[in-house]
Point group: C2
DNA sequence: CACTAGATGTCTACGCTGTAGACACCAGTA
DNA sequence: TACTGGTGTCTACAGCGTAGACATCTAGTG
C-alpha cells in the first residue's frame, strides 16, 4: 500500500513527467504508474488535477534565485539579473511554460520575485505603475519564450511549423533574409534582454525628468 | 446529410465555440453539434484536430489590419500602430491566445505582418536582428497579454488566483501598494505600449550611432 | 490489550475525449 | 444505366478526470 505518499512526492513526480515527456504526458494514471501506486491515490492529497498543476508551477517558481542578485550593483544590472534568473528557471522546465502563462504569472510562488523587482525599480525612482508594467512584460516575455522553446521541441501533432525552405522570397524579402541569417529560431533568449534594455531606457528617462522637476 | 460542409464553415464554427465557451469547449463532437452534423464529418475536411486549431489561429491572424497603417507617419508611430493592431486582433479572441503562443508565433498567416514590421524598422535604419527581436517581443507579449485576459475570464477549475485581499503587507509592502492602486489586473494592455516604447528608444539610439559612424 | 476512528490506497464505473474503420448514400461521368 | 469517388454516419476503442464504495493499515483511547 506504500503508505508514504506525500504532496511533494506527487509534485516532483509530476514535474519529472512533464520535463521528460511534455505536458500532455501528465495524466493522473501516468502519475500513479510513475509512483507505483493507484491513479486515484493522488486524490487523497490533491483535490483535483488543477491543484497538481498549480503545485508544479510553484515548484518551478521556487527555483528562481533572488538571493544571487548583488544589491551593490546599479539597479539596471540588478533588474537584468532578475529577469535572467526568471527566464533561466523557466527554460529549465520549458514544458511548464504554458501552465505559467495560463495560471496567472503572479501565483503565490512568484510574489517574492515580483516584490524584489518592485523594490529594485522604485528605489531607482521609478513609478509603481511603470515598475509593474516592466515586471509584467518580463514575466510574459519569459513565459512566451519558454513556451516557444517547448513547442519547438515537441512535434505538436500535425502542425506545419518550420517553413524555412518554402517561404517565397518575392513576397517576403526581409523575412527570407532574416531566416537565412538565422535570426528566426535562434536567439529567442536575446529578445528578453533586448526588451529589458528598452524598458530600462524608458525608466531612466522618466526617473531623470522626475528628479529634475523635484529640484 | 447536409452536403455543403466546407473547411471555412468548420473553422468559423470552431472559432465561434472558442470565443463563446473557451478553448476547452472545442471538441469534435461539439463542433459537429454546432453544425448539425456527425462529429466524424469534420474529418473529411481536416485530417485531425491539430489542423483545425491551426486553421483557427490563421483565421484570427487574418484579422490583423496592416493596411490601416499610415506610411506617411514616422516609423515609430507605424510600429506602435502595428503592435496595437496585433494586440487588438488577439484581444478580440482572447481564448485563442494559448494556441497562438503554442503553435509558433510565425505561422503562415502572420508572415505578412512580420514582413511589414521588418520593413518599417529596417527602413528606419534598424539592424535585422534587432528588428526580429522587437517583433518577437511584440508577438510574445501580445499573446501573453491575451492569454492572461483569457485566463482571468475563465474560472480555470479550482486554482487559487486573486489573492487581492489576502497578501501579507509585511512581506510584500510594494505589491500590496500596487494592488491597492489597481495596477495589478488593470492596464495589462499598457504593458505592450510600455515595452514597445522602450524598444523604440533602443532602436533610435542604435540607428543614430550607426548613422554617426557612417559619416 | 482490545477497540475504534480516521487516514490512505484500491477498485469499479461514468461520461467525456480524439479518431480508426466499415457502411450508406448521393452527384457526376462513361 | 452502371460505376466511381466524395461525403456524412455509425460503431467502437483506448485514453482521460474523477465520483463513490470498499479494504486495510495506523494512532489514539478505554
Amino acid at each position: 500500500m506504500a503508505r508514504g505518499l506525500t504532496r511533494e512526492m506527487l509534485t516532483s513526480a509530476a514535474l519529472r513527467i512533464v520535463d521528460n515527456d511534455g505536458l500532455q504526458a501528465l495524466s493522473m494514471r501516468r502519475l500513479g504508474t510513475e509512483l507505483g501506486v493507484d491513479p486515484m491515490a493522488a486524490y487523497r492529497h490533491l483535490s483535483n488535477k488543477g491543484i497538481l498543476l498549480d503545485e508544479v508551477v510553484a515548484a518551478v517558481m521556487s527555483e528562481i534565485d533572488t538571493e544571487a542578485i548583488d544589491a551593490s550593483r546599479p539597479w539596471q544590472d540588478q533588474l537584468r539579473a532578475l529577469a535572467l534568473s526568471y527566464l533561466t528557471a523557466l527554460m529549465a522546465h520549458p514544458h511548464v511554460a504554458p501552465l505559467i502563462a495560463e495560471r496567472s504569472l503572479r501565483t503565490a510562488g512568484s510574489l517574492r520575485v515580483v516584490e524584489k523587482a518592485l523594490q529594485i525599480m522604485t528605489e531607482a525612482g521609478a513609478q509603481l505603475s511603470d515598475a509593474m508594467a516592466t515586471i509584467d512584460a518580463i514575466g510574459l516575455l519569459s513565459a512566451g519564450i519558454a513556451q516557444a522553446a517547448s513547442a519547438a521541441q515537441v512535434p505538436a501533432n500535425g502542425t506545419a511549423r518550420d517553413f524555412s525552405g518554402l517561404l517565397p522570397p518575392r513576397e517576403f524579402p526581409l523575412l527570407t533574409q532574416a531566416a537565412e541569417a538565422g535570426a528566426l529560431s535562434d536567439g529567442l533568449a536575446d529578445v528578453l534582454s533586448f526588451a529589458v534594455d528598452g524598458m530600462i531606457a524608458v525608466l531612466e528617462v522618466k526617473a531623470q525628468s522626475i528628479r529634475a522637476s523635484d529640484e
